[in-house]
């Protein structure tokens, strides 16, 4: 077998890399955490052997292109109102097995994003319920004995001045369909990956759990 044939076979049998996708929606500020995708991608590449594409993508929620990305990240500060098209696409996305991770960039349970996006999730996917801290999400790669890791924004008393003990979720067939966080991981993870060297403990490890969970469950 020639080298070129071997190379062609390697390409043919290579796995598709994981692509981190951020949802664009018409209302609000969907791009409020621009450094987050690079940081999550860096962590996945740093800690796992999963093939991952170096750049993430932004996908309009009104487009059926979202179906190509079974893990979707959504964040923002401002009120969220899905258009009819966005709600229809998102509903199909979740029914088919996609996982939507929503994070409240305000870290405020009285904030506009929190109130409106939860209403939209209820309308599209059903009510959010607390996810037990013993859920396999917290053991899918790193072990988080106490559930979701606390963020510095919670400790600093910003936003609602609360430390949220749990995440919320919509479950479908025993799998997480929508994961909702009030912990402001959007702020916590939105920094240049090179700056991880200044942290005593990498605060993006939970993002690895989320990606591994999405790929394996």
């Amino acid at each position: 077998m020639s080298d070129s044939t071997r190379a062609a076979m390697r390409d043919a049998t290579a796995m598709d890399p994981f692509v981190f996708a951020t949802a664009q929606y018409e209302s609000g500020d969907w791009d409020s955490a621009p450094m987050l995708p690079a940081n999550v991608i860096d962590s996945v590449a740093r800690y796992t052997s999963l093939p991952v594409r170096p750049q993430g993508v932004s996908v309009p929620l009104s487009s059926e292109a979202v179906f190509a990305y079974p893990l979707l990240f959504l964040t923002g500060h401002l009120p969220v109102r899905f258009t009819t098209r966005e709600a229809d696409v998102l509903r199909k996305y979740l029914v088919r097995g996609g996982l939507l991770f929503v994070d409240d960039h305000n870290h405020d349970v009285d904030g506009a994003f929190h109130k409106t996006v939860r209403e939209e999730i209820r309308r599209v996917a059903g009510p959010l319920v607390p996810l037990p801290n013993t859920h396999e999400l917290y053991r899918s790669f790193f072990v988080f004995e106490n559930g979701p890791p606390t963020t510095s924004h919670e400790m600093n008393g910003w936003g609602d001045n609360l430390v949220h003990e749990q995440l919320d979720a919509v479950l479908r067939n025993g799998r997480i369909s929508v994961l909702y966080s009030s912990k402001d991981y959007s702020s916590e993870w939105s920094f240049h990956p090179d700056n991880k060297r200044f942290l005593s403990v990498d605060n993006t490890k939970f993002a690895v759990n989320l990606v591994v969970y999405a790929l394996t469950r």
Binding site: A12, D16, F18, T48, P70, Y93, G97, L215, T216
Partner: protein, 468 residues
Amino acid sequence: MTATTPNRTRSVLERVLRAVAWLGLATAMYLASRPAGPRDRRASVLRWSASDLADSTATALTTTIFREVVAAAGDTQPRRVNVELTAVPSQRARAMLGAVVGADVSVNWFDRTQASGLALSATVVAGPSGAVDVRVAGAPSSLPLVLRDAGGTLDSISNTRVAAWQLASVSPPLRASIGASEARVPTRAPAVTRRVMLIAQPGWESKFVTAALEEVGWHIDGSYRVSPRTAVTLGTPGRLDTARYAVVVLLDSMAVDAAAIRRFVQQGGGVVLGGDALRIPALASISPVRATTVRGAVAGALLTNTPQRGLEAWELVANRGALVVRSDDSDRGHAEPALVAQRIGAGRVVASAYRNSWRWRMEGTDDGAGEHRAWWGSVLAMAAGVPATAGDPAADAYPGNAAPYADLVARVGMPVSVDGITAAPVARALSAFDRLMNRLRAAPGLLFMVIAMALLGEWASRRLRGNR
């Protein structure tokens, strides 16, 4: 003289009318007591040649025959239907022919099927092995006797009319054939565990295959290597053996314990080689196919009624003895094998050509998720030798399907020779008297009218000339 002539003429006319009335009355009494004569069976009103077994053929045949029967109903003469069969008809077509016979239509069928009686029995041997005792008896033939099940060909023997096997397991239905003759038995599925070992790398394909299989009732065990020192487990994976697992599913080209998998399938387990797993060199000895090159996905095809064309797939060359279960149409004008099965030892190996089948579920139509689930459910069922859906196929099976030729004979009768039909009288010539009687029997009102008119005419004539 001139006064008596009209009266005499009228008197003669009255006698004639009375005679006609009496004659009509006598004829009516004769017809009432006359036994039904031989029917005028019109010859060869229909000749039909079946070249396949499709139910659509049966529908077309039903329509044609009943149109003929309805057309013939006006003269109360049932017709004879001559059917030339070039293949053993389907269950529906046989039932239709039986119904035609039951409707008092004579059916003569010419046997051009080149089939003959073939008996097949399958009995589960009492004991822990659960083996199936299979016996076949057929007419002497120079053609080979072939035994196969849903997993592919089991055996083929030349120049024999009686054979017997003991099979470790069977994927129903079990079929035996000699040339065009075929017999089948819907053997009961063995009581297998519905536990599957999944060997794959973490990714969307393994995730959605797992989801699809769990949705159709399979329990998945597996272990994903997500880093050099970390593995993520599904379920409680254990040692690969047939007591614990029904099927092992491989989805990627990766290092595997090929010896354990070969031993597993030899001992009766099922193996599914999906997508890139078809390129694992260590499993080439049990693979039912040779995967050559990757066929590209057709853009936009996932949203059509042939979503499989929207998936990347390996081009497969089936091994000798392997059964191509499903093929996809291609732009090259020939069918591309998509699902191929073969028996290896006491087990089965099924090859699925599609890579990234998860796109079928996520990026296809609204039916895509159900189709993806059904696809993987059927693949697993084939590998495990169990029904794809819950239920007992043996309970629903029509008994006549066990031996279609015998069922046809039971319903319609023995076939007639072409010579016999050719020499048979096409229509018996009837005398003029019989034809008249048949016509009067067909129209009793006419006879009554003749009698009534004759009596009325005689009565009117008598009254007009003054007599009572």
